[in-house]
Every structure is written in structure tokens, then in C-alpha cells.
């Protein structure tokens, strides 16, 4: 279970977010560009620090201004997938997947086993020794996911997970992603601009407007809020 209350002064507005996600639940964040969706992920994974607030994950306090706790990003054990995937360009596929395990001082044979197993699950075994610069969008996405999941994170944060994937491959990738998230059994937050992502991945949907939660509920509930300008254009003619 993840619970977040975070306040941070951004350039144009104050981000003030309160949300919680249960284990095995997927929360999808939607909203205009610049509404603060990616910032929410960065605050949770520890890349940015809130001005005020409290973040707890599985009973552990990751951030609390009251008790002066700020667990550094490297000790939070959160899988964070960036929009561009941020695969390390000077490493192979296997090198990328092994990176986090190396940082944790896991023994070499154990790393090799874990990486091989993860690559097999992600159908990347053939690409183990390929430099990541030569991968397609869908392959990159799977490497990024493998790199995060091999560490058995307690929370998964996905920023536009399918934006760089070929249109034709998106439907298959989306189904695969949904299965992986379900299997992991951990809380998951997905940021997306894509209605299909929202419909297929979300257990709950959350609308962010100017750094605040404007709506929070099941996808059906939130997408029914046609009086909201963003929802009206996001859900569009598809629902009506």
C-alpha cells in the first residue's frame, strides 16, 4: 500500500497531491501537459523532494517533513520507468538489466541467473548482448520494464509507458504490460495521455489539474464527468 501527501512549489502553481494505491491496484493519472503528473512520480521515487508532506510505502516512511525523514532515491526500492526509458546507452541489454543488482552487491552468479530469467520472461534472451541503441521502441520498453522488475520493487511508476512504442504493437504491448503489473502484485501508478491505456490498465483513474487531484474514482466514474473540459476531450466521442 502506498499513501502520498506531497506539496511542492512548482514554477506556475503549487502541487498539492493526496492519493493512495493498494497492493495489486493500478492507478492511472491523466491530465493536461504540465499539470504535474510526472512530477508526482518524481516526488514518489525520490528524484524530487517535496516541500512538505508524507509518503509511506508498505508501512515504511519514505518521506516526512514532520519527522525529518527523506529516504534517498537509491534506497526506496521503487521501479520508475521514464517516458524515454532512459536505458543506459553504453551498456548492453543484459548490462542494463543487471545494473540495479550490481549496485546491490549481489554475487555474480546470482546476477547472471536473475538477469537470464528476467530476460526470458520478457522474451529478450536473444537480445542480451545487443547494445540498447539498436532496439525498437517496444523492445526498449520491455528492457526498461525488465530492468525495474528484476529488482522486485515494492512499487511501480510508469510514465507514458507506451508512448514510444509503434502504434501497431501498442495493443499487444498494453496487454502484456497489464499482465506483468497484475503478476507483480504491487501498487502501480501509470501516467498516460492515451484513453486506451486508461481503460485497459486502470483500476482507478485520477484526474490531475494544476497540481491537484480534480477527480478520483473508477474509470467509468471519472470518464462520465463530461462537464470537465479535459475529460470531455480525453474520453471524446468514444464513450458517447
Amino acid at each position: 500500500m502506498l499513501s502520498v501527501h506531497a506539496v511542492r512549489q512548482l514554477r506556475d502553481f503549487v502541487l498539492d497531491i493526496t492519493l493512495s494505491v493498494r497492493c495489486g491496484e493500478t492507478l492511472v493519472l491523466v491530465g493536461e501537459n504540465g499539470a504535474g503528473k510526472s512530477t508526482v512520480l518524481n516526488l514518489i521515487s525520490g528524484i524530487l523532494t517535496p516541500d512538505r508532506g508524507e509518503i509511506t510505502l508498505a508501512g515504511r516512511t519514505l518521506f516526512s517533513d514532520g519527522s525529518r525523514i527523506d529516504v534517498p532515491a537509491e534506497s526506496r526500492n521503487i521501479g520508475h520507468l521514464f517516458q524515454s526509458y532512459a536505458l543506459f546507452p553504453h551498456m548492453t541489454v543484459a548490462g542494463n538489466v543487471a545494473f540495479g543488482l550490481r549496485c546491490r552487491k549481489v554475487s555474480r552468479p546470482e546476477i547472471a541467473d536473475a538477469v537470464a530469467e528476467q530476460l526470458a520472461v520478457m522474451r529478450l534472451s536473444d537480445l542480451a548482448d545487443v547494445n540498447v541503441g539498436r532496439l525498437s521502441g517496444g523492445q526498449r520498453q520491455r528492457v526498461a520494464l525488465a530492468r525495474a522488475l528484476v529488482l522486485e520493487p515494492e512499487l511501480l511508476l510508469l510514465d507514458e509507458p507506451l508512448a514510444a512504442v509503434d502504434m501497431r504493437a501498442q495493443a499487444a504491448m498494453r496487454r502484456e504490460l497489464r499482465d506483468r503489473i497484475r503478476n507483480a502484485g504491487i501498487p502501480c501508478i501509470v501516467v498516460t495521455h492515451n484513453l486506451r491505456d486508461a481503460l485497459e490498465l486502470a483500476d482507478r483513474l485520477c484526474l490531475i489539474e494544476n497540481g491537484r487531484v480534480a477527480a478520483d474514482g473508477t474509470p467509468e466514474e471519472v470518464l462520465a464527468m463530461r462537464e470537465n473540459g479535459f475529460i470531455a476531450s480525453f474520453a471524446g466521442p468514444r464513450v458517447s
Partner: protein, 280 residues
Amino acid sequence: MDSTRFWHEREVIRHGGRTRLGRAPLTLLLTVLLALFLLFVTLPVASLFLRISPEAFFRSLADPVVLDALVLSLVTATVSTVIVVLFGTPLALMNARCDYRGREIVDTLTDLPIVLPPAVAGIALLMAFGRRGVVGQYLDGFGVSVAFTTVAVILAQVFVASPFYIRQARASFEAIDRLYEDAARTLGASPTTVALRITIPLAWSGLVSGAILSFARALGEFGATIMFAGNFQGRTQTMPLAIYTTMQGDLSAAISLAIVLVVISFAVIAAVQIITRRNT
């Protein structure tokens, strides 16, 4: 020749349908200017090779003055490059990534030796580390004297060569997307691990070419060295100093040393180009 083509394209853009004939005088003028400039740069260097026979060249290389200068130069320039890299890398990384009060002052100070005349650097180092210098007088109390030793040669080289590495290193670090570092941290890498495993490897070619440029500058250092370290064969007489000294007597030794430096300079340019090209 690339530059003339570039000008051509601009001319075409500016004047649209101007005739081929109309551009001919400009092309001719630019070709002549370019040829004159290339000649001006290459002729003196070529003259070095024309003024000495291969036998005389190899005979001079065995001359103790030449040999001592060669060895001393290579050793001191290598040591100073290592010192510059060890101190400069963390400094460049800090200035590229951290925003702290006074960062601009630090940047300006690290660049200072580039614009400072070497003779000024030499006398400044002497005033600091000389026997009666600001720091030197205390060192002298411990029986340590720096000025007019090989250590002084290295200090002078570090002083003049450090900005070449630090500037390049900083630019290379700044060119790296922070996203890679953020991703590495969420995967469990401490700031030190991020620097060693992500930032430095990604900036590698820039760091190497910066170090090569810094080495070349150290190798050619003359003004600060002769003022702060003196001109003693085998101890402080590096190649540029030996050229200056031998020129007054044995010209072929001076030319031989000059040729060795020319070869090293060409190797430096080639190395930097190969490394930077491979990166892009």
C-alpha cells in the same frame, strides 16, 4: 574546401538565381585566401623537416641534452596530466551538476590560467612557492624547496594546462541527459556509483580528448617553467626550454627537438579527432 562550399550555399540562398559566372570571382578569392593561409601554417613546419638531414636528426636524438629534455618532458607532462585529471574531474562534475553559491567565481578562477600570460603565471608561482614566497617561506622552514626543481616544472604545467581539461570535462558532463543519472538512482545507485558507472563512462570521449589537450599544453609549456623552475638540464629543462637553449649553439639539436614536438602535436590532433568523431 568545406568552407567554400558552405559559402556557396549561402550565396545561393541569398541571391537566389544568380548566375554561375557571378559567383566565380568570389570562389576564386576565397580559394586564394585559403591557400595562402594553409601555406602560412604549413610552410614553417615543413621547413623544419627541410633544414635537417635524417642522419643529423637521429644523431641529435642521441645527444644527452636532447634525450634528457625528451624524457623529462614526457614524464612531467604525464604526471601533470594525471594530477589535472584527478583534481579536475570531481571539480568539473560538481560545477556541471550542483548549483551552489559562488559557482561562477570558481568557474572564472579555473579559466584564469588560459588568459593569463605564462610569464605572469611563472612569476606568480614564484611569489607563492619561491623560497621567500607566501607559502614557500614556510615550506623552506621544513627544508622543502619547490622553486627550481622538477616539482616546480610540474606545478607550472598543472597551472597552465588545467583549464583545458576542466572546461572540456565540464562541457562533456553538462551534455549528458540527467535522466540517465535519475534512472540509475531509482535502480539503487548511490551518487558515487552514478558518477563512476554512468556519468563518467558517458562523458568518456570528452574527458579523454580534454586530457590529451591538457597534456599537449603541458608539453609545450615554456614561459612559466623558465621563470619558476629555471633551465637546468635533466631537472627542469623540458623540450621547449632545450630548444631555446640549444638554438644558441647546436641548431640541429634544436630542430630535432622541434620535429619531435611537431610529431607529438600531430598525434594529439589526430587522437582528439578520432576520439571525438567516434563519439558522434
